[in-house]
Point group: C4
Chain length 285, copies 4
């Protein structure tokens, strides 16, 4: 780990250049790097998905393994480069994107020992989150932050709601296990709870269904319950978002009358609506 | 039942100490007791769930019945202790948590006679509701009360809506019973109503599905209906919650009358609405 | 049809008494009549539902047909009485409840010729709508009117939305018919449209499912579409209801300052917030 | 393509008359033309749908092909006429309705070579969009524009949400592919992702379902997730619509400045915000 005295010394030479290209996206080279990274990630995802299709895998075995090795080499090289050019490798390695970058290559090496884990390479889809950074989509970042804020603000309500749903689902699942029994597919309480969740959430796979009259009556109540209860999280989120939306909108609140100093004047007003003083043209940036 | 004259006499000696530990959660011992109770409830729930899995039950029959007896003894002892140390045992026994505590042990004893009821021991999940009391999660209690208030405030609208849905479901179920008939799985009106509920709530198990053209046309209408109608309870709840959310955020709560010191005055008031004192102009930053 | 000259002549004698009992619910006898009617309707519904269960029908054939004849006689008698005691029988017969009352007995007579129509007797569930009138549940009537108003206010938006959904469903169904074809269960365009509706509304019966890769990709898009689009009717209804809810809430707007006559004062204010005049205690009914 | 000098020369003679009838709907003939077009489109749609039903096709083969040729001839003739009478044929041909009109006839000709494409004739349902123009349903157009505006205003939020859902679905699908494997129906990653989408959107076809305990546990989490997450797009749309609904009902739009006669002044203004004229006290009833 870098000693504290290292704090002031900036990156220099090839490390600075590599850092600018790999970690930043404000220079031409940096943007190009990030864009080709996105393309590489998307191609490798496509590769993993196609490879999982049995018929495709058998036909194209030759170049598939070749492409696979290439992407593995590329992403490993990139990860090593990132570690090499960053000032505090450990801090990068333990950051969100550091872990994602590691997870993007790790399953390939693990697959030597546990071949069935190969598909988990897919987790590199998370690398695409960088796309928001590249495109500097301020609009999207605001939207994302807004969603996050609404979720956090209603977290305690959603937790209470979720714990209530979990209790209902456990009790209902147990009752159905007793009522229907293993002979109708409700082979154990965990399975019954799985069924209860699929019912209350209105998913309704239909792999397990009630066969007895009493079971169907209970299932009917659960469906109506789940359907009505779906209104609750929607209500929570919506109320939160509507409140945010309202506090977001009062665009012209900063326009102030120079005479009476009252604020909140509309952008297209020519006179103060409180004292009648003429207003200068409204300047927006 | 305790005589009325007993009203003033407080608990004393071991009963007071037991009461403080078992019923309250403000002392160290009390908190420890409640926490270990939670752990015991969770463990016993896990036990019941695992026991319902046939393969697990056969493998671990020995220690499962041992653990089962232990939990039964513990919860029975606890229930007796609660009855013993409380001033009015009947009032406790008939309270919500008293019934829950009884239901947590009753099924085990009933299971001697009706073994298939054993799984209902699961109902002790309701004991976990005490967790809110222990953690003193004021935030969560407020959220819980808020949800409850919104549900109660919109109860009459939801009841009207539910009765309308029940009528639709009964009529639609009967029509499908006539149209499709027993040969397509709609063996009786109750079964058809069960199917109609699963369709209108968009669960769609698929254990019974329309086979005739007319039946499929009617089912299509019902699906669109149910889908659109889902908007109604959501709208009811959301409107209620949004209204609460707005009344929750009383923007000017920090404006305080200098005379009577009551806060929560509106931003455009010129006089205190509690004592009539003139208010200085409200300053916002 | 009654001649216009009959307009002023009120009901008299036994017709007036019968009318008061059968059509109104403000006297003791009238309320008793309506209540026993509700019970009779509920019992006859239960009867029809039980009768549709094959095993039950075979066991209880004897008293079932007896009970059936009794209810038929009772409801027929009631319908004739209603026609006899009302001033304008045709107007009653063509009113909503008149038609419902007729539909409650008609299927039984039709069932002599078309036995499979017997189950439609169930339509008499609509008679239960009278329950709102009997119980004088003003609260519920207000809720019902509120729901109706919100639905009507957003009718044009919902129609536009529904027509868009129908077009999407028709095009998507046709595309799936071309892509999957009869060999995968999509036997005709109407069947494909039925499937598309069950997919877009998130019902998902699973009686018909895409088997080809392209079909599954299209189905995935449709599911995400339907899921996101579900937000639209909910949004329409909720926005409408929230707007109603807001216009519903300003309970104390009628409290007016006796001095400056400004209204909208809060119920717990002691002084006018505009002019500082002391307010008399607020009277609610 | 028409030369720029052609800009000022208006349509004349039969082209003007044809244009007025075919493209406009304000004359009697024009309205009649559009109405018969709607009827023809609806009839041809019905024809295509019936034709896809195998039993119907075999019975009515004779007149079906006759009707088919008639509609093809009619719509082709109409398309040619439209091209002939419009001033800038290319601009019409590349407009939305121009493409729709072409797509309404193209599949029939393509069907000579690829018979299975015949059903795509259905795409002519889009021609029905003209119905809004004929009926001059201003109300509906406003509703339609309102929906469009709400969708556009929340587009960035919905995109962020959708990209998050796609990532979740890809990762969850891959995990299920690893956990359940081809032997339980999860034959490839694309198939698993298709299943994940059907689960998260609460469609739940049930053609593929988890069989292992771990798979069912993951599926349960996904169902709860999808159910709760459904609140997000609903919240986004609803908040947007509620905000529009509020700005739609500009309560004081009828207050007008007596000097400059501009309307829409706020109820508590003392001076016109456009010309600064003092306003008389605002009178409400």
């Amino acid at each position: 780990m870098a000693p504290p005295a290292d704090f002031g010394r900036p990156l220099q030479g090839w490390r600075l250049r590599a850092y600018t290209i790999i970690f930043e996206a404000d220079t031409r080279a940096g943007r190009l790097f990030d864009l080709s990274l996105m393309v590489a990630v998307l191609l490798s995802l496509l590769l993993v998905m196609l490879e999982s299709v049995a018929s495709f895998r058998l036909q194209h075995a030759a170049w598939l393994s070749w492409a696979e090795y290439t992407f593995t080499a590329l992403f490993t090289l990139e990860y090593v480069l990132r570690l090499a050019c960053v000032r505090r490798p450990l801090r990068y390695a333990s950051s969100f994107f550091g872990i994602v970058d590691l997870l993007a290559v790790l399953p390939i090496y693990l697959a030597f020992f546990f071949p069935e884990l190969y598909a988990l390479v897919d987790i590199r889809v998370l690398r695409l989150l960088r796309v928001f950074r590249i495109l500097k989509l301020n609009n999207y970042v605001t939207a994302y932050l807004g969603l996050g804020r609404a979720l956090r603000a209603s977290a305690s309500k959603i937790l209470v709601f979720l714990s209530a749903v979990l209790m209902i689902v456990l009790i209902m699942g147990t009752i159905m296990y007793v009522v229907e029994g293993p002979e109708n597919g409700y082979t154990s309480i965990p399975v019954s709870v799985y069924w209860a969740i699929s019912t209350v959430t209105t998913v309704g796979f239909g792999d397990i269904t009630p066969k007895t009259d009493l079971g169907r009556a209970i299932a009917s109540v659960m469906m109506l319950l789940g359907w009505g209860v779906l209104a609750v999280p929607t209500g929570i989120m919506t109320a939160e978002m509507a409140a945010q939306r309202i506090s977001e909108t009062p665009a012209p609140t900063t326009r102030t009358c120079h005479e009476c100093l009252r604020e909140g004047l509309q952008a297209d007003s020519h006179f103060c609506r409180h004292c009648g003083a003429p207003l200068p043209e409204y300047q927006r940036d």
